[in-house]
């Protein structure tokens, strides 16, 4: 017989949620399999690639290394929660504008990790961005469009009328 399910209450993307799941499940599995939030991806399920990162109480965590049970009463934010009222988050806009999402598989984790960075540091340097995103692997972009998108979004979130530099879109 399977283990009896655990039931927890938590907040997911601002909504109060109750969910029942086998107690050994990771937050990653609970999100994808029990809450249908497949926007959170996995690349290794061993804590190596950063692809499954979500925010728990505002901090990026690897959802493959966190038990679902440990999230009772916590605030979990996934990529599905970033757009509000049908409007993309500035980071999502910037990633879309610059092609910072190619295959898009690592993108949710990059977006959420960057969101946590900008919450703590609205004016990050390029090095700050590299440090913050060093735990997330991307095989498509070479990270460059991601840095540029985070910088563009940061500027827009500070209220600046920022546009991509021409060489960002057209080369030199």
């Amino acid at each position: 017989m399977p283990d009896p399910k655990a039931v927890i209450a938590l907040e997911v993307n601002g909504d109060p949620v109750e969910v029942a799941f086998a107690p050994h499940k990771t937050l990653l599995e609970v999100l994808r399999e029990d809450l249908g939030l497949t926007g959170t991806k996995h690349g290794c399920e061993l804590g190596e690639c950063g692809t499954c990162a979500v925010l728990v109480d505002g901090a990026p965590v690897l959802s493959c290394l966190v038990l679902g049970l440990a999230c009772a009463g916590r605030r979990v934010r996934t990529v599905e929660g970033m757009a509000e009222d049908g409007r993309l988050h500035p980071l999502q806009e910037a990633f879309a504008d610059l092609g910072a999402a190619q295959c898009g598989y690592c993108t949710p984790a990059f977006l959420l990790t960057a969101e946590a960075l900008l919450a703590a540091n609205p004016r990050p340097t390029r090095d700050d961005i590299k440090q913050a995103l060093a735990g997330n692997l991307c095989r498509c972009t070479g990270y460059i469009k991601i840095y540029e998108a985070v910088e563009l979004a940061a500027a827009r979130m500070r209220g600046e009328d920022a546009r991509p530099a021409p060489e960002t879109l057209y080369g030199r």
Binding site: P2, R32, T38, G39, T40, K41, H42, G43, C44, E45, L46, E48, C49, T51, T78, V79, E80, M82, A83, L88, Q92, F95, A96, D97, L98, G99, A101, Q102, C103, G104, Y105, C106, T107, P108, L111, I129, K130, Q131, L133, A134, G135, N136, L137, C138, R139, C140, T141, G142, Y143, I144, K145, Y147, P164, E167, T168, L169, Y170, G171, R172
Partner: protein, 815 residues
């Protein structure tokens, strides 16, 4: 052609049509799919590198809780493989395993946990066989054979081609150099692990969703192995979470879930673990190379003789094509009047190698560009100047009968030389800092299909509805490179509508016409040309009735900004939707098709099928390095890259491909490596994990300065050539050449690890040659050469002895 008009969409930077889906996490990848009553599949894999399967007992597994089916090799006895000449794989090994990780049995159960637990209950009795760990061993050990086919013993493929008299060329040379190089094997490492979901319907129809780059070839493999009519099989390629060539073979797990779905009558899904992705592999062939090149004092090449020995791993995969590719493109950058290529691919008991970004061409490009750097030094020439002097001209036919179209390499070299400040840096920077230059070229799609046929390589259907909606159907597969978007931009350009209002339906064998797949950098050129033709036909169909309604000649109509109007009186016009309505009233439902077949290549010899392409892209690269002589650690602060893309369809997407290529090349140059532990001949992968297989993070990635050179090629849609693979190629040799500039040692192999740099520095310090790299090439039993006269010898593209007349119509090796 349409490219002559003022372009409104093409060439601009756009979002991709799926950008919003990607950034909101709503794109459905294969493992995001689930169906009611779905079973989970897991595969049992071999713990031995080489063994006979004596017996498999599945009874205990079948009796385990939740298990609904267990199958083994005898349930899927028909072999398959991507190339017609190497149908050497089974979905599950029936009698022999050939590498650690080869699948031998599969379980379908109600949960993934139950399927995993049941694997432990399958009892396999193996009789181990001697394992072969390297191509050198394969050369020395013809028996026992890993496969019962192949050109000699454990050598899968042997090639010997000679174009012109190389001995004569070497005799004319002022300097002749021989060098040995080794390119280590590495893997694609897509962030998405392969996954597949199969459903067998009550109507006895199979549907499979899979993270594949080549749904058409998966369709063919399923039909063959399952012995089903292709019309009963529907393959849907889900958006790939990265591919890079690693998802372009049909895989056993795809066939297994299909068979399990048919057996159980329930949907079955498999999602590979990261470890299993390392076993699927099909990555870069480790390649040993020997190059002999003769040059005049001004650097003009008089002859080149190139040998490669590829470590193929346990199966054929694309390996025959890969082997030819290690000898095909040496001739398309600089003039090589006489050329000889000998290539060999060995079977070894390791995960099979295949096509990774650049497919077979990064290895020889590394060797060639490092050797040119050595030659330039020997001749006291600037490496950039030397290359510029001897470029192939546009529209040339090479010694090995490749027809070049547009050729922007000269402008590429000039851009990076100027942008990097090359002339102030080369051989002038302080010890520990250096710059290196290298160039490359790549195909924009293979000239021939993988299996012989004379049908188009890409097809598009297009429908226009009376609301002004346009839907484009194409078999092409978006693996993140943006192929769906390319279709939209091209159709939008021709029909004068918003690309984001076009619906794109791709990669579904029930709904979309064939596109051969996302490999060989073929998709923009081939599906783009098919889309262009379909759109131009639609415009023509609509223009006549619209012109009549407006009472202007159709030739004066402009399709732009969602309107169809008179060029001489723009107010006189109608909306695109009204124009479609006029056309529908006049001729009925508006639908068109377009297709693309590459031009015929002039080569007619056996082996001429690999290398021809409708167009070649060109890249030049300068890498700056800092080398710490105390630790051997190489860091790359900046790479300058210029790429001749013909014409950008979407400039931002082109930049993204260039930057991604530089990134992947940097990983190959410095750290990425497939390594197998050889203790007691176990040949176990040393680090099948994302942590231990080192790839560049944000902290290792360099700055990239990109210059786009646009030299439109008449064969490309609007002049476009490839960009997804070519810019990777020059990175490894540019870094190697820069390391030499920095500290005066040659690491003639990749990855250029700190240990190798230190070893070379130590040797230099002791007064020995400051070099690390291979020192010998084994005695391969080369066949009699096929001699092909060059174009300037009056050749006709055929072998001199007129042998292999069949090759003219049916080249043995394609792709």
């Amino acid at each position: 052609m349409a490219g002559d008009r003022d372009l409104r969409v093409v060439g601009k930077a756009h979002r991709k049509v799926d950008a919003a889906a990607k950034v909101t996490g709503t794109t459905k990848f294969a493992d995001d799919l689930a169906l009611p009553r779905m079973l989970w599949c897991r595969l049992l894999r071999s713990p031995h590198p080489h063994a006979e399967i004596v017996a498999i007992d599945t009874a205990r597994a079948l009796a385990a809780p939740g298990v609904r089916a267990v199958i083994t090799g005898k349930d899927l006895p028909i072999p398959f493989g991507i190339l017609p000449v190497s149908q050497d794989e089974h979905a599950l090994c029936p009698d022999r395993v050939r590498f650690v990780g080869d699948p031998v049995a599969a379980v379908a159960a109600t949960t993934e946990e139950a399927a995993t637990a049941a694997l432990d209950l399958i009892e396999v009795t193996y009789r181990t066989l001697p394992a072969i760990g390297s191509p050198e061993e394969a050369v020395a050990t013809p028996e026992p054979r890993i496969h019962d086919y192949g050109d000699a013993g454990n050598l899968h493929k042997l090639i010997d081609l000679e174009f012109g008299d190389v001995a004569e060329g070497f005799a004319e040379a002022d300097v002749v150099r021989e060098d040995l190089f080794f390119f280590g094997g590495n893997t694609h490492l897509p962030m998405e692990q392969h996954a597949a979901l199969a459903e067998w319907s009550g109507e006895r129809k199979l549907t499979i969703w899979s993270s594949t780059q080549t749904p058409h070839y998966v369709h063919r493999a399923l039909a063959k192995v399952l012995d089903l009519p292709p019309a009963r099989i529907r393959v849907i390629a889900t958006p790939n979470g990265g591919g890079f060539g690693g998802k372009s073979d049909p895989f056993g797990h795809e066939i297994v879930v299909a068979r399990l779905a048919m057996l159980t009558g329930r949907p079955v899904k498999v999602a590979l673990t990261r470890e299993e992705v390392f076993y699927c592999h099909r990555g870069r062939h480790p390649t040993l190379m020997w190059v002999r090149t003769g040059v005049k004092k001004d650097g003009a090449i008089t002859a080149m003789h190139f040998r490669s020995l590829l470590d193929g791993g346990g199966y054929g995969s694309y390996g025959v094509a890969s082997t030819y590719y290690t000898g095909a493109l040496q001739t398309v950058t600089y003039q090589v009047p006489r050329y000889k290529f000998q290539g060999a691919r060995a079977f070894t008991n390791k995960p099979p190698c295949g096509p990774k970004r650049g497919h077979g061409t990064p290895q020889p490009r590394f060797a060639l560009e490092v050797q040119l750097d050595k030659l330039a030094e020997q001749l006291d020439l600037d490496p950039a100047e030397m290359r510029l002097r001897h470029l192939q001209p546009p529209n040339a036919v090479t010694a090995n009968w490749l027809r070049i179209g547009s050729m922007g390499l000269g402008r590429c070299i000039e851009k990076v030389v100027e942008g990097s400040g090359w002339k102030d840096k080369f051989r002038k920077l302080p010890h520990g800092r250096g710059v290196g230059l290298a160039c490359s070229s790549y195909i924009s799609g293979a000239g021939l299909p993988i299996y012989w046929n004379n049908m188009p390589h890409s097809g598009v259907q297009l429908r226009c509805d009376r609301g002004g909606g346009v839907t484009v159907f194409c078999g092409s597969t978006d693996i993140g490179q943006g192929s769906d978007s390319i279709l939209a931009y091209i159709v939008a350009e021709v029909l004068g509508i918003d690309p984001f209002e076009i619906s794109i339906v791709t990669a579904d064998t029930d709904l979309t016409p064939i596109d051969l797949g996302s490999y060989s950098s073929r998709v923009t050129l081939m599906s783009g040309n098919a889309a262009l033709q379909a759109a131009e036909r639609a415009r023509e169909l609509i223009a006549g009735p619209a012109a009549r309604r407006l009472d202007v000649p159709a030739s004066r109509l402009v399709f732009a900004a969602g309107r169809v109007f008179d060029a001489e009186d723009p107010d006189k016009g109608m909306s695109f939707a009204e124009a479609v309505q006029a056309a529908e009233a006049a001729v009925g439902t508006i639908g068109t098709v377009g297709s693309y077949t590459p031009p015929r290549s002039p080569g007619r010899y056996r082996g001429a099928g690999v290398g021809p392409s409708p167009a070649y892209s060109y890249s030049a690269c300068v890498a700056a390095v800092d080398v710490d002589p105390a630790t051997g650690i190489v860091t790359v602060p900046t790479i300058w890259i210029a790429h001749d893309v013909g014409r950008s369809i979407n400039a931002a997407a082109v930049l993204g491909q260039v930057e991604g290529s530089i990134y992947m090349g940097l990983g190959e140059a410095l750290m990425e490596e497939m390594v197998h532990r050889d203790q007691e001949r176990r040949l176990v992968h040393k680090w099948p994990s994302l942590l231990e297989y080192k790839s560049p993070t944000t902290l290792e990635m360099c700055d990239v300065v990109t210059y786009l050179v646009e030299d439109p090629d008449p064969n490309g849609p609007f002049g476009a050539k490839e960009v997804g693979q070519g810019p990777l190629l020059p990175v490894m040799p540019a870094v190697a050449n820069a390391v030499y500039d920095a500290v005066g040692v040659r690491v003639d192999e990749v990855p250029i690890t700190p240990e190798k740099v230190l070893k070379a520095l130590r040797r230099k310090g002791k007064g020995e040659e400051g070099r690390v790299g291979p020192t010998s090439f084994p005695d391969v039993p080369w066949p009699e050469p096929t001699r092909v006269p060059t174009p300037w010898e009056g050749g006709d593209g055929k072998a001199a002895d007129g042998a292999h007349p069949a090759a003219a119509v049916r080249p043995e090796r394609q792709h």
